[in-house]
Symmetry: D2
Subunit: 338 residues, 4 copies
């Protein structure tokens, strides 16, 4: 870290900072500039709380130099990690899989119909929520284990591996019993106990970006899963919270290439949550593939007007089918396939 | 809700929307304007997903009219709720209590010293983290149950009731055994299983605002606790995520008077998290009291330069003492006391 | 507009609102719901300040229904407007032109070299700043009219039409004398006097989105230019201000398809300003084309390490050349060309 | 500045960066850490564009150390600047003046009535817009010079100095002829030509913070005015653009104490623009005074329901009168007066 002293800092204050640095077992390097003094800290300060130095008299601010994550870092593992969900759906390779399905599992007919339709359209995995985190306590909260069973039945019927959300550490085992990949949603992206439990489950984890997370914070959350011994993590840009009001979230696609520069893990995009409106899903899916996304997760409902949740952002199987045709062309343009 | 049709919508499309509304068991009211048609929906549509209508052909957008929470609403209960923590620390009355203590419980000496010092300074409750949600997996995660025991010992020594954070539903009982008030942090503000579990604990709950939450979302999260049968909820503005970089978060004090216009629950402010810098805590505490806050929660450490967590935003007991002197004057200026 | 009364509003308060509406020369329509009353206002209320009604006793809030712009609206003109810059560079058709050049015109050699190189790479117009709006008063402010002359010389040498920024109404005539298209930057996007002056210049205007502008505000700013009699306006998404720190701005690509749903004007993207980092420009350019952008404006410098401004986000002519090869493929995938 | 090299950077790349630094006439200082190398740059690099170094191979990022403003900095002038508007209204001293008046000057009767009423209520200066920057081109744009004359007449009648907005450099002389203080609004906060022209006018300038400006950017904008030879600048927090929807802007009061730590200039608050709702103005005014604001600027209209602009955020003279009574008490609590 770099400790910037105030222009008015005294020699004693600089020395005090130097002492604090040495107390931490780190090496100091003092640079006297024309306007102010800077103390460069040498050594691995990732576990140190930079905050404490900021309080010392005469300190203006403290800037981190080292990335606060290690296992997720591209430097540690320059080759890309390929994460396999189910038997053969691979994220992080040349192919760009589409995960599709309803926001919520509603009943047997709905999930089976949808599963068959998205497979037909070209999707390579099935999504569907059995445990739903709902902003409103009076809204439909999902079918629970019954929903998981229906998802498993849909997998049996179609061969599509199942991606579904888990909400709390105690339900990880239950969900892992039925699912091929555990999804952790944006509202749980810093639920560290859940990250740890999912990391221990042995299943691949799809970790959505928190809606107010920087990429540094996102990769630190990822690090919890990796540190639990699980390297099969799929990252997912799903929109951030901004002042914009034409979408539910602002899909920040630059996160895709930037994450590829920082981590070896695959990065997919959720254009459904990321916009909140079905009318924008196709264009944003094409943009995602064009900027290097390793997959897409898209909400599809056979009858969006009667969906129990997220109808506004669900597209129909017919639209998905047309979309995948065009995604294949975009993928081809950058020497990938979909 | 109000359904705004596109200027180009056909009569058939309007009729289709009317049919969807009736299917939901609600009443429609069609208003033909000069430029476009609007369908007003009559009835309690809080549990309906407005999204589904948004997908219907010819619909431009859907606007909610009813507040999506009921139990938390001021209309339901126009007199203010007073929440008592421990025997006699009341939030929501004329008095404005200060909760103070370290970010983390570090050891017996630190917590006992701090507890005595903040009591001496005028604080009415003790805060301190035993289970710490940390962005970085390699950072100190708290002492766990040992920390809870030390907090209880500090309460015994000082008489100050204890406010401490709980991270996951399965630990609610454990934390409730030692604490007088359960704190739910910003990263768990939409951890709905935790909200529900805390609601069932019987203890007062201090629910911090999520860093990317609108007030509507905040009051819906609160509704989870109230719906679990617990009306002893203290709200807490603790800063939101914005583009500003001179603070860790942007403390949005207008949330205090606005929440008072929407809910009967008490609203406090956390100027430590809300700014991230000790240098701003005193001024923002004074501002909080002046705009009607029902309490403050402030991080205090006897030796901030050596705090294990959040040193940069912790003030010393001496500073707290001076601060409370000035808060008493501000409180007096608006006919309250502190 | 829709006026939502509080659940506690009295009949007298509703009647008072009705009277206010009638005073404005508009028609009212009162709807009594189960929980509250709503007053729908019929007539063109675009010029009315909704704010005044919000102050009336018993009013909870006021929601606009009509889009606040008319000339820019797709409803008025369902066919797309094609804006021609210079003789033959058309924005808004099947072709997707790339505008390229340095952030600032630095000297004759630099601008001529760059102009030739970007033409060679496939760019269809030349950008370059002669008047530079600089955050820092001590930074290079541009060559002024001398820069304009150099741009005109570069146009003569290459045939590329010139896009350059104008900062203040009194300089519109001067800039229009040399430029083929007037650019109005993000910091001037609500400089209404400048919008009006540019509208009167007779030249096409490239209006960048303000970094904190909603799309409604953006189209109202556009309306100033159209209302001055100029329909040759090119819109440009260039990133918005958010909490993200891995880019200088957050490029919000969903604005592209959403603007296409609201207006007939062409929409281009600036991936250089929109990210602030050369390393992200190629991927975000590809994403822009894939989601329907009608053009790109890209900063190119023959020697970015020695650029006088914006070196970090400038790519080299060689990189541009490779990029355009790949953009042509992406464009082909959606039946357009580049 | 501090140049952080990538962990994978080669010695040649470090040397290349060192050469770039030397080319700029600055001194380099290379620090080899355990994980990566950092190049500290010594000398005044305020005028250098850090961007160019960021492009050099092997560079991870570049961090500024020196504040990018000089004249506005507290280090240069540790005593506070007191800015006098008119004969005796002083911002930056012990007294905290309230500037009050309508959003727009509408007619003689309205401005005279309001001026007398706000004086009676205790305001020390009169605000009122003659040139209005309006988001919507069809909205009322102000009375122009006629409005300025009415403001001057109101000053003659009451003795209150006049604060009014100027929109464009060519109107600075006209506005300065009538006004005691030139206001530059949030949308013009980076209209650098206007900042410069206002700086040359000889009149005090009230510069509002841009709605998407960091404090560093704000102080750089201020520097334009100071560099034009005018040190009579009043800063004004007026709310920033965030995701919040219960206010028009998020009033960021921590900017007040933070600006006091960085600059010698007075800082006032606009709670009317800063919230957009009359119902929040009194509480946020009290909070502003409590956290150290050197003044307030408040929209007041005798009949807000019929105001031509900004009715929703205007309070009545009666409310202002009550508010100032309570502000005096708050001011007294921190040893100031109002």
């Amino acid at each position: 870290m770099i400790i910037v002293m105030k222009p008015t800092a005294t020699k004693q204050q600089v020395q005090h900072v130097v002492n604090l640095v040495r107390e931490m077992g780190l090496k100091d390097h003092v640079i006297e500039g024309t306007d102010l003094t800077v103390v460069a800290v040498i050594g691995d300060d990732r576990k140190k709380d930079k905050d404490v130095v900021e309080q010392a008299p005469g300190v203006d601010r403290v800037m981190r130099v080292l990335a606060p994550y290690k296992l997720a870092a591209l430097e540690r593992k320059p080759e890309r990690t390929a994460v396999t969900v189910g038997r053969s759906c691979v994220f992080g390779g040349k192919n760009i899989p589409v995960v599709a399905g309803p926001c919520s599992v509603e009943n047997e007919k709905q999930i089976l119909t949808t599963a068959k339709a998205v497979k037909q359209a070209g999707a390579q995995a099935l999504r569907g929520g059995a445990f739903k985190p709902r902003t409103n306590p009076y809204a439909f909260q999902g079918l629970g284990e019954e929903g998981l069973k229906l998802l498993a039945a849909a997998r049996d019927a179609t061969g599509l591996p199942v991606v579904t959300e888990v909400l709390t550490p105690t339900e990880v085992d239950l969900v892992a019993k039925y699912a091929d990949c555990l999804q952790i949603g944006t509202r749980n992206s810093q639920n560290f106990k859940l990250l740890d439990a999912a990391g221990r489950s042995g299943k691949p984890v799809l970790l959505k970006r928190g809606m107010a997370m920087t990429l540094d914070e996102y990769l630190q959350a990822t690090e919890y899963i990796l540190a639990a011994g699980n390297e099969n993590v799929i990252l997912c840009e799903r929109g951030i919270r901004t002042f914009e009001d034409h979408t539910r979230n602002t899909l920040s696609l630059s996160a895709v290439p930037e994450l590829h520069l920082r981590t070896h893990l695959p990065v997919i995009v959720d254009p459904s949550q990321g916009t909140g409106h079905a009318r924008l899903v196709a264009d944003m899916s094409r943009a995602s593939v064009a900027c290097g996304a390793d997959g897409l997760i898209i909400e599809v409902h056979p009858d969006p007007e009667h969906a129990m949740t997220d109808g506004a952002q669900s597209i129909t199987p017919g639209s998905l089918s047309e979309l995948i045709v065009s995604l294949k062309k975009i993928a081809g343009a950058i020497d990938r396939d979909c």
